[in-house]
Subunit: 441 residues, 2 copies
């Protein structure tokens, strides 16, 4: 199995061995969040066989696009990963069913923002059916080949708005264009403050393979086996099974390794579509370009995941929590998540306060096996705690200065074994409360 | 086993069958929080054989008492329950060891606020030893019979302050008095805004049995098998084993059924001391007064637990989450905790927003078995969701009015089985962020 570049780089960085060349292979951290969104959109590649259209239906938001239609060329392979919530929304259950029972490839994806169509009973399923039928009629395909996704308020019926949505179908069809991916990223936003896109290109003798994706998500983010809405497209030729394996591996290190507020959505949906329109022969584990493709897919997914955290509701800081020295992978993940989800750790970070005792508290409640005497905590490379107490040369003012930055790295060695994990999160600020308490998001 | 009165009353209230008499048996909800603290302190009973003293040592806070000394008469039985954190503080480990290996009864309890003496390594244990020795010398008892507890900042050495603490020992000894329990409740406060006390009396032909207790806690509250600091005293004659059984039962329904911020302290300590000085014969399961004593102990613990939640950092509302119809007890607890710990549910409550979709989300991520089609949610008795969608006669304005109150009841029927659970929590407000991000608490 291909080692994950991000993890490897963390080790290299920690060991001071990261060469410039390795650094350039993969952006460990996006230098910026929203302020470079327009540049990222401008440099999106076109994926042959994929067309986008958007419209402003006014379901919930005014004066902005809120639905997205994607048409996929024939024989596109699509794999999907979804929330593990037991109150999964109607479009999620519909996608799962269609992908499991698919006889032919999906031909279209339709998404709306502003209404999650979750916990909407039989009416919710009827709404999905009517939307899929509307798309199918317009594009002259089977409704079984239309996947849908929704994001927004839970529990509000979507039925009253179906008419509005259907009235936009002819307009959507006529505006389908390979150029529309950036606008599609805007159409799926809810409390997001910037559209999230990422892309990469793998050079091959028979021409490039492109991978590009969009995502949305800002609150209700601790994906379980999936993400918020994310749609990734590639022109690679690859079998459905091979694609599924690759996406599954990358998922555990990208979308499944982030948390904003420990809350898991009813609607998390990740769809990855491979059109097979590139000139490079089919990718298999034996292909020369398999490692590069795998790495490219991971880098696109990791970038989108990081953008989601960077745009976490109210977030001012991106926090990378890395745990090493764990007895096993589960313990490493548990320890990292306990820190990443602790309101007290996250508020301390918001306040630029190197209150590392709260990290000790979070580790203590995590259930992960640890040795107090061997436990090491560093913040931004500064040793903070070691051997069961404050580090000998700990200077609080030094760490307090580091905490004023917008990218915070916390590294913990549990001192037990060799397993490691990394979770991205953000700080917990007044703005999170404002967004979620002061008005309905 | 004695059914828990609080739970029974919930059922009766839901069924509209609660008589005035039953209502008076146990205060389901304290009508107020801090504004009646002084009244509660004024009506505390004296527990024969228990004396209190406090002092202001200035370890962290200025112009307020910050240490508490309790002297217990000979043959007092003491049981303790502690945090299950794997980074337990030195005084917690010391208490556990002393209680497990006790050959005679503990004779004194010493507590300090402002410094948790947690993750302080060998120095932390040395600090506990020096404090216990100081108390022992002053009271002319063995240091093995001195229990200590600490609460405050994690990771800061207590050693530099031991001199200050020890210098107050003579003064503490000379001011020991059965009247000092209220001041002791003040001395253990950290971010608490009011002292927490509760008491009850069981009438018997041979005179009353009294139970009274104090507690502190406001943040870092999701106790695992224990609580923040709580000290409960009774003059009942009861064996250590019988007391332990009763406290364990009551604990799971009081201190272990609350959460403020999902964070578990390194220092949670509950000590219950029975002096045996009342005139009533030894209490056993066969005693006439056993049910009343058991209920009395539960009511004191439940009241203290509720006061902790009511004084949750930044809290404006007390929220009672009740789950019924669960497949088993674990699922009921898991579902209730998922709601009680969800930042999105708690911010919605802070904003008086009946955004019940977030409750659906929390149930979905909880892992508890549920039936969407049978799931019922009510808020303040108003049906909100049923049969997998919004309730037929749901009026949002009605529930929004209810949400403006300071006591919120959320009831969920998972529609699967017969198990139930109840968790008390509070809302998540701007003030929680201020308290924990704007300065070090």
């Amino acid at each position: 199995m291909l080692p994950y570049i991000l993890s490897d780089q963390m080790h290299l960085i920690e060991a001071g061995q990261l060469t410039d060349q390795t650094k350039n292979t993969f952006p460990l951290t996006l230098t910026t969040g929203g302020d470079q969104a327009e540049e990222r959109i401008a440099s999106l590649p076109l994926i042959d066989g994929v067309e986008f259209a958007t419209a402003a239906t006014g379901i919930r938001y005014q004066n902005r696009s809120d639905v997205m239609l994607v048409r996929l060329c024939a024989d596109t392979e699509v794999v999907g990963f979804f929330t593990q919530s037991s109150t999964r929304a109607a479009p999620v259950l519909d996608c799962e069913f269609k992908l499991q029972s698919q006889t032919a490839s999906p031909s279209a994806i339709f998404a709306n923002s502003g209404n999650a169509n979750a916990f909407t009973g039989a009416d919710g399923f009827a709404a999905v059916k009517r939307i899929a039928a509307g798309v199918a009629t317009e594009l002259n395909i089977s409704a079984d080949h239309v996947l849908t996704a929704s994001t927004g308020v839970i529990g509000e019926p979507l039925t009253p708005d179906i008419g509005k949505i259907l009235s936009h179908m002819p307009g959507l069809k006529s505006s389908l264009s390979p150029l529309g991916m950036g606008e599609a990223a805007r159409a799926i936003m809810t409390t997001d403050t910037f559209p999230k896109v990422a892309a990469t290109e793998i050079k091959t003798p028979s021409g490039p393979i492109s991978i590009a994706g969009i995502a949305k998500g800002s609150g209700m983010i601790e994906p379980q086996m999936a993400t918020m809405l994310a749609f990734i497209f590639t022109d690679a030729k690859i079998s459905r099974m091979a694609l599924k394996t690759l996406v599954n591996e990358a998922n555990s290190l990208s979308f499944n390794a982030i948390t904003i507020d420990s809350d898991t959505s009813t609607n998390d949906t990740l769809l990855v579509a491979a059109t097979g329109t590139s000139h490079h022969p089919e990718l298999t584990r034996k292909s020369d370009k398999w490692p590069q493709f795998s790495h490219g897919l991971e880098s696109v997914m990791a970038s989108l995941a990081e953008q989601i955290v960077r745009d976490g509701e109210g977030a001012k800081k991106l926090v990378r929590v890395r745990v090493i020295g764990a007895a096993n992978k589960i313990d490493a993940d548990r320890a990292a998540r306990a820190i990443a989800n602790s309101p007290l750790v996250k508020t301390a970070i918001a306040g630029d306060d190197p209150n590392w005792g709260r990290i000790v508290m979070a580790l203590g409640k995590s259930g992960a096996k640890l040795s107090c005497d061997q436990l090491t905590i560093s913040i931004g490379g500064h040793p903070v705690a070691e051997n069961g107490q404050v580090a000998t040369d700990y200077r609080e003012s030094q760490v307090a200065d580091y905490m004023k930055g917008s990218d915070i790295q916390i590294c913990i060695d549990l001192g037990i074994g060799k397993a490691s994990a990394q979770i991205l999160t953000c700080d917990l600020t007044h703005e999170y409360i404002s967004i979620n308490a002061d008005y309905r998001s």
